[in-house]
Amino acid sequence: MNNVTQIVQKVRQAPWRVQRQWIGLFLLAPVLMAMVAGIYLNVTVRATVAGREIQIMRNEITANQHINADLETQLAGLISFEDMQQRAESMGFQPASLDDITYVDVPEYVAQSAVDLSTPGVTKPAAPVILPAYTESWFDYFMNQQAPSTSAGGQP
């Protein structure tokens, strides 16, 4: 029995050490909370900055659309039929009449066809992609981290 007591006494930590460990453990909680709050603040700030940039870009897009519409209309006014006719006449041109035209057979000639205003290679704008980090919960985040990664076509 004495031997046992001696062994316990040998491995038992000093009481002040135990107290400090308890205090340390107790303080760990606020430290962890501070860390979580710090990370949360960091993510929130980044999300806010990104969101603000989106808002600014949206406003710029709207402003540019207005400018484009104005410029298109101004350009159309400058090349309107009446303006173009006046400009051509002032430069000494006149509308071609039947007698002014000589027809020449041009092989492979393709006559003027109606306009095609399709946008080349147009695709529907994709929905905005938001990183999961901005939307998922901590629980989801940790679960995703723990989940084993899979690879397609895993042939040995």
Binding site: A69, E72, T73, F81, V115
Partner: protein, 578 residues
């Protein structure tokens, strides 16, 4: 065991820190779950926002912009900051903004209003002047600044070609609604829908902003160059003939695409408020689709088409014209009151003999066959053209309370039946297009998600056979050549028919002074590329369509063959032969 000297202090510090942490957590949970606090937060983070999507643009078939958008401003005033009104009004005046309108709007504002709209649809120039004044007055220590003035940009319709094709386009009012023409017919796809909604001000929720789709852009079948030429010719025609109004329609008979459509009067679409003065009384906005009239002898081509197709007559069938014929107890005479003796069917058409055509309809065809063909040609029904305000005209049928047997004779030469120009053009397209009648339309294509979707040609019926169509076209072409019509141009073979029609009076009977002069024709005969309809209302220089309408037709096709790159027949056939 001896207690460490600072243990008590550590414990107190730990307890306080723990209590603080727990307190913060409790407070966070309380705030987040408090409905009252959540309401306050949402009130501050959600704002009303207006979304003004641009209206779809309208182009002609070669990509010239006919209707676009321009930026205008709504000028508003925040009353919660107690703005200095004399300063605001002075600035508005200096910017060229109409103060009468502003004062009127202020007078309508309720006493407790927090925000009022001072004026709307202000041009960019004026708004920029006001913005410059606002910038200069910003931070004025006396409080005489313009910080309470707000600018909201939005779109307004703009027509760079002013009155070109105005009868076809229609116009858009300040409430973004289309009226008349294309703007009304396709209002639902052209107009983006303005939306006013609560959106989160929180930047982290920026992706929750709605995507407001713009109006769809459309392309018309109208050719700007042809349209302008036709309008110019029509304007000159009214001056030279003294006609009260006029209409010209140009269509591709193979596809039904309207290349040009003009009627008088026209208006500058950028000044749509002038509509009540330009179109006073019951003046139709577009006579080509909205005004039905008795077309006269141009309808003879439909009678003859039906008669040939049914086998009632052949081109060589001979009729002895005594100068009059009795139909339903009434005597019908020729336009000149004369007797033309022996005539084959080509002669009947070339000389436009009423007696002959009344004989064809009443004696050779009979009412069942005649009216069956008239209905097959679409008379009495709207064509369905994609323009607002189309009217149907009237084809009275046996059995109708106001139908009389004599009308079987008069309808054969286009009296007692009313049609719109577009109805006649559609009906005649069957003769020009191998018996197939095409649906007339103005929409060439629409742009959906960046892709162009073209309108397909629609055949609305085959009232006559291809053989009948070719035979009649030959007869009409020969008729024009025989009489050396003023409608012909050298090098091109054209088929066509004049029509000089009496105008019915509201109380019954016909106007003895004025007539309607019409010409319908198509060409080149062997491969028609255009069908042209000319209608002059009450010409004064001469009443005969062959004198007033045929030369207008000639002017139009002289332009058409140049603008559409149609070589003379000989050159074209030579090219095809190679």
């Amino acid at each position: 065991m001896k207690r460490q000297p600072h243990t008590g202090r550590y414990l107190i510090a730990a307890f306080l820190l723990a209590a603080l942490g727990i307190g913060i957590l409790v407070q966070i949970v309380r705030i987040q779950n408090s409905p009252e606090v959540a309401g306050v937060i949402n009130q501050g983070t959600q704002i009303w926002k207006d979304f003004f999507p641009p209206r779809g643009e309208i182009y002609d078939r070669h990509g010239s912009l006919l209707a676009g958008n321009k930026t205008v401003y709504e000028i508003g005033l925040d009353l919660t900051v107690k703005p200095d009104m004399p300063t605001v009004l002075l600035a508005l005046q200096m910017s060229g903004i109409d103060l009468d309108e502003v004062n009127y709007r202020i007078s309508l504002a309720p006493a407790n209003a927090e925000y009022i709209i001072l004026d709307d649809f202000i041009s960019v120039d004026k708004a920029e002047k006001l913005m410059a004044l606002q910038k200069a007055a910003h931070g004025d220590p006396t409080g005489k600044n313009l910080d309470a003035v707000y600018f909201k940009a939005h779109y307004a319709r703009s027509y760079p070609e002013n009155d070109l094709a105005s009868n076809v386009l229609g116009f858009v009012t300040e409430d973004n609604h289309g009226y008349m023409g294309i703007e009304e017919k396709y209002d639902n796809i052209l107009a983006g829908i303005p939306v006013r909604m609560l959106v989160p001000a929180d930047p982290r929720r920026a992706t929750e902003y709605p995507t407001i789709p713009p109006g769809e852009t459309i392309i018309l079948t109208i050719d700007r160059e042809i349209q302008a030429s036709v309008e110019n010719i029509l304007d000159q025609a009214l001056v030279t003939t003294g006609a009260s109004s006029g209409t010209i329609v140009v269509m591709d008979p193979r596809t039904g695409e309207i290349l040009a459509m003009s009627s008088t009067p026209r208006m500058n679409l950028n000044d749509y408020q002038s509509i009540s003065t330009v179109f006073s009384g019951e003046t139709p906005f577009n006579r080509a689709i909205s005004e039905a009239y008795e077309p006269g002898s141009v309808a003879k081509i439909l009678t003859m088409a039906g008669a040939l197709d049914s086998g009632a007559v052949q081109p060589g069938t001979v009729f002895f014209d005594t100068g009059s014929i009795l139909v339903g107890g009434f005597r019908i005479v020729n336009w000149d009151g004369g007797a033309w003796g022996y005539q084959d069917m080509t002669g009947c058409l070339a000389n436009s003999l009423n007696v002959c055509l009344a004989w064809v309809s009443s004696t050779q065809m009979g009412s069942d066959s005649f009216y069956s063909y008239m209905q097959r040609f679409g008379l009495g029904h709207a064509t369905g053209i994609d323009l607002a305000q189309e009217t149907t005209g009237r084809l009275k049928l046996p059995g109708d309370s106001d139908w009389y047997p004599v009308e079987l004779g008069t309808n054969a030469f286009g009296q007692g039946v009313s049609v719109t120009p577009i109805q006649m053009v559609m009906a005649a397209s069957a003769i020009a297009n191998d018996g197939q009648m095409v649906y007339p339309h103005v929409l060439y294509a629409q742009i959906v998600d960046g892709k162009q979707i073209n309108t397909k040609t629609q055949i609305v019926g085959t009232p006559i056979s291809a053989n009948t169509a070719h035979t009649l076209t030959e007869m009409l072409a020969n008729g024009l050549e025989t009489e050396s019509s003023a409608a012909l141009i050298p090098g091109y073979r054209i088929a066509g028919k004049t029509g000089t029609a009496q105008i019915p009076l509201p109380g019954g009977g016909y106007d003895q002074n004025d007539v309607n002069a019409t010409f319908i024709g198509w060409g080149p005969v062997d491969d028609p590329r255009f069908i042209v309809y000319v209608w002059l209302e009450k010409p004064q220089s001469n009443k005969a369509a062959s004198v007033v309408a045929a030369p207008i037709f000639k002017q139009v096709i002289e332009k058409l063959v140049v603008l559409m790159d149609i070589p003379p027949d000989a050159v074209r056939l030579q090219m095809i032969g190679r």
